[in-house]
Symmetry: C2
Subunit: 203 residues, 2 copies
């Protein structure tokens, strides 16, 4: 690949906690590094259920650790943190579908931080329409238009297809960064993925 | 704590793959940072079984990812890697007990890299006496003396007590770095733990 810059597919799902860090700091990261990020929503829950991968729900010690670790990583990156938000989210179906519309139209970079801010800083379970609508308005989108599209069967179909693609690439968690053949899982691998995408031969 | 340097308890168990990175690069890290590292062997398997935490054995996609991630992290740190070694190890009982003797006598910094090298580079399942003995000889220890002590009931007792202590601190995986009240899990948190141990107020 020489010194060509590879685009990075940023696979994400609102169900994930650590993804808060990635979506919130992505604008800064892009500005600093010039990385080309392609926002790719998918349904991480369906893959995790299929693979019997339950990282926190049944593991209270690991769950408590995760919140503290996330808080420290947030401090490291200058990302606001207001304590553990409602978790897990009750239902991410509509949220995932709205993210599919955002990805198609190119406004994930503003919408995803907004919906995550409402979850993490607003401390709201953002499963339902009013919360999603508020985040949409915040980023200049018409909630009636977007939610109508999000409720169409085609949005669900697009989400299923995206999730199949993610699974084929070996994605099993969120956030995941894919550059060429390389899969990097976790917010703490973002910089490593960018180094790789530069074709530097370094990870 | 002001600018006082906190010691770091390095909780580890030979059952763990990523711990290969920590034990192998620890000497360099200590030289570079001046961190005070206390080597603390424990039985990570018993805690993981108790907490129903099975990260890889039943998860082939995640397991394949782990090896590739470990390989890239090894390259990043200049740690040798020779492909996935035998995994999981058949029985770490004797190895864990030998590590308890090493910790008591202060030669973990040479022995742990040696036994891990035999596993990862020698590609041997290091469960049994001959492999442990070879690693002991390599670091100037008398295998007869160490293995006799390792087989004593008191070594098992010390391991059980260490594991109870780890569990009380909230340790659930290996490697874990504990500085004061802060628990950092994973080789990729070692530098963060050291920053914290310096009382810098940064993670």
């Amino acid at each position: 690949m020489g010194t060509q810059l590879l685009p990075i597919d940023f696979w994400f799902s609102l169900a994930s906690t650590y993804t808060y860090l990635s979506v919130t700091r992505m604008a800064d990261v892009v500005q600093r590094t010039g990385a080309e990020i392609r926002w790719r929503p998918f349904n991480v829950r369906s893959i995790m259920i299929e693979q019997n991968n339950i990282p926190f729900r049944t593991k209270p010690v690991k769950l408590a650790y995760m919140w503290r670790d996330l808080e420290r990583r947030a401090a490291l990156h200058g990302v606001p943190y207001a304590g553990a938000p409602p978790y897990p989210l009750r239902d991410v179906t509509l949220s995932d579908r709205a993210a599919m519309i955002a990805a198609r139209e190119g406004w994930c970079p503003t919408y995803m931080p907004a919906i995550y801010r409402r979850w993490f800083i607003g401390q709201r379970d953002v499963s339902d329409e009013p919360d999603i609508a508020t985040a949409l308005i915040e980023v200049g989108q018409d909630p009636a238009r977007v939610l109508t599209m999000a409720k169409m069967e085609s949005a669900e179909q697009a989400l299923v297809e995206a999730t199949d693609t993610a699974k084929r690439l070996g994605v099993f968690g969120s956030p995941t960064f894919v550059a060429g053949p390389e899969v990097f899982w976790g917010d703490d691998r973002l910089e490593q993925a960018i180094d790789w995408s530069r074709g530097s031969g370094r990870y």
